[in-house]
């Protein structure tokens, strides 16, 4: 049976790993290549690296890091952050990324999903979306690091992304991010049950039970977390053992 995936995510700024709460208050944590190898050996099923470098000139630092990561691990990894053009996709893939995730730029120009899928295959096009519950109880899509509300409803955008050729969705809950109170099971299950591509839940993991719930109730195909893993709150090995005992189909290593 296909296993539920545990994904460790690393935000990279100027070639170093950082993690913020609600996209703010960044603190320097560690070297991305070291951490990649650590998670590779610890049993992570996949890794994600988001480049949050602001300046365009420093982008090549990130891509050099991507190349080093590809040389150092033998599990799949996704690269995202600042991906705007087909050329960005090409660069990331040539440096060794397995998948490339696109967020704000896809909202501004949805056709990029289609052209990337056509050029490089759906399997490497990941639609990353930041969602937030509005006062009316609906979930809307936000861009630019959660600062700008768009006209898209979450499910509408997920379905459009799928129809344009995205091969996977990473669903980030702005409300839950960094709070460690659990994933947003409501929107995760809504999206996961209404699209036919894998959905990765992101934002809010604080303990092992949260993972169990996001698989069982959130219907997620994978669960992503950052700080909980690299501040050592939860060890991936222990988490997998826990989920296995709870009857979740998991790859133990």
């Amino acid at each position: 049976m296909l296993a539920k995936r545990i994904i460790s995510c690393l935000d990279v700024k100027d070639g170093r790993v950082v993690k913020g709460k609600r996209f703010n208050d960044l603190t320097d944590v560690d070297d991305p290549v070291n951490l990649a190898v650590f998670y590779n050996n610890e049993g992570a099923d996949e890794l994600v690296f988001y480049d949050i470098t602001a300046s365009f000139e420093k982008r090549n630092i990130f891509f050099n890091v991507v190349e080093k990561i590809a040389e150092s691990i033998n599990i799949p990894f996704t690269v995202g952050g600042g991906i705007k053009t087909l050329e960005d996709f090409r660069t990331a893939l040539l440096k060794g990324a397995d998948k490339v995730s696109i967020n704000s730029a896809a909202v501004r120009n949805p056709e990029i999903i289609k052209s990337a899928a056509k050029k490089f295959g759906s399997q490497c096009v990941v639609l990353s979306m930041d969602v937030k519950k509005t006062d009316s109880g609906n979930y809307k899509v936000y861009i630019d690091g959660g600062r700008v509300e768009t006209d898209f409803y979450a499910l509408e955008w997920a379905k459009l992304g799928e129809s344009l050729g995205a091969g996977e969705i990473v669903l980030n809950s702005i409300d839950c991010d960094g709070i460690k109170n659990g994933y947003d099971y409501e929107i995760t299950s809504l999206i996961s049950e209404n699209v036919n591509i894998p959905v990765v839940a992101s934002g809010g993991a604080g303990n092992m039970e949260h993972f169990e719930k996001v698989f069982k109730y959130g219907k997620a195909d994978a669960a992503l977390s950052a700080s909980i893993f690299h501040y050592g709150d939860i060890k991936i090995n222990d988490l997998k053992e826990y989920l296995y005992c709870k009857g979740v189909n998991i790859r133990r290593v």
Binding site: N74, I75, P76, L93, G121, Q123, E168, I197
Partner: protein
């Protein structure tokens, strides 16, 4: 030298590195001479069937691959590379493959999500040297929307369950195919690549 065939699709560096890591002298190439001189051939796979087979045809290396296969040289197809071995694929129309294995390539249909993406466990169909050291319930990493339906299921060494029996590791004599990505499958992938190496010695 191991010839990793470059037909203009995607990044071959990860496969190249995996071959180097198990101790092979590998070369990424699309030259007939290199392919003929190689000890074994790897046909990697990224992208769509139609584009891949068109590129192989346009580069004039289809006959060369077939002749090497016929002569008994070990050929490893990975992911799309495995699918290219078959007679026909229904991805985006209907396209003829290399025809060195009998069967067809079809899309997943059913209730399960496509692509079949992630780590799936292996089920042993039969024993073979290529799968030495692999146990049922070992996991490998898949990402694909189409899968092979071999005419003879005995050619399947390992398969996975994804609503249907998905051939994962195929072997017919010198022809070996892996639907998953061994270079991305951690320890289990390394075992299988080492087994591949042993076959060539």
């Amino acid at each position: 030298m191991i010839a990793i065939i470059d037909y203009g699709a995607g990044n071959l560096k990860n496969v190249f590195r995996a071959m180097k890591n198990i101790g092979f002298d590998a070369k990424i190439t699309s030259k007939v001479n290199d392919i003929n001189d190689s000890r074994a051939i790897v046909l990697p796979g990224v992208g769509a069937f139609k584009g891949a087979i068109n590129n192989l045809n346009n580069m004039g290396i289809v006959d060369c691959i077939k002749e090497n296969a016929k002569k008994g040289k070990v050929i490893l197809g990975i992911c799309l590379g495995l699918q290219l071995f078959y007679d026909v694929s229904y991805e985006d129309g209907c396209h003829r493959g290399l025809g060195i294995l009998k069967g067809e390539v079809v899309r997943f249909d059913g209730k399960l999500k496509v692509p079949h993406m992630g780590w799936n466990s292996l089920i042993i169909n039969r024993e073979d040297d290529i799968s030495k050291g692999i146990n049922s319930e070992d996991y490998v990493y898949f990402v694909h929307s189409y899968y092979v339906k071999p005419m003879d299921f005995n050619e399947v060494v390992l398969y996975s369950d994804y609503g249907t029996k998905v051939p994962a590791l195929i072997r017919k004599d010198n022809i070996i195919g892996m639907q998953f990505h061994p270079e991305k499958s951690g320890r289990v992938g390394s075992i299988l690549l080492n087994n591949f190496k042993e076959l060539i010695k």
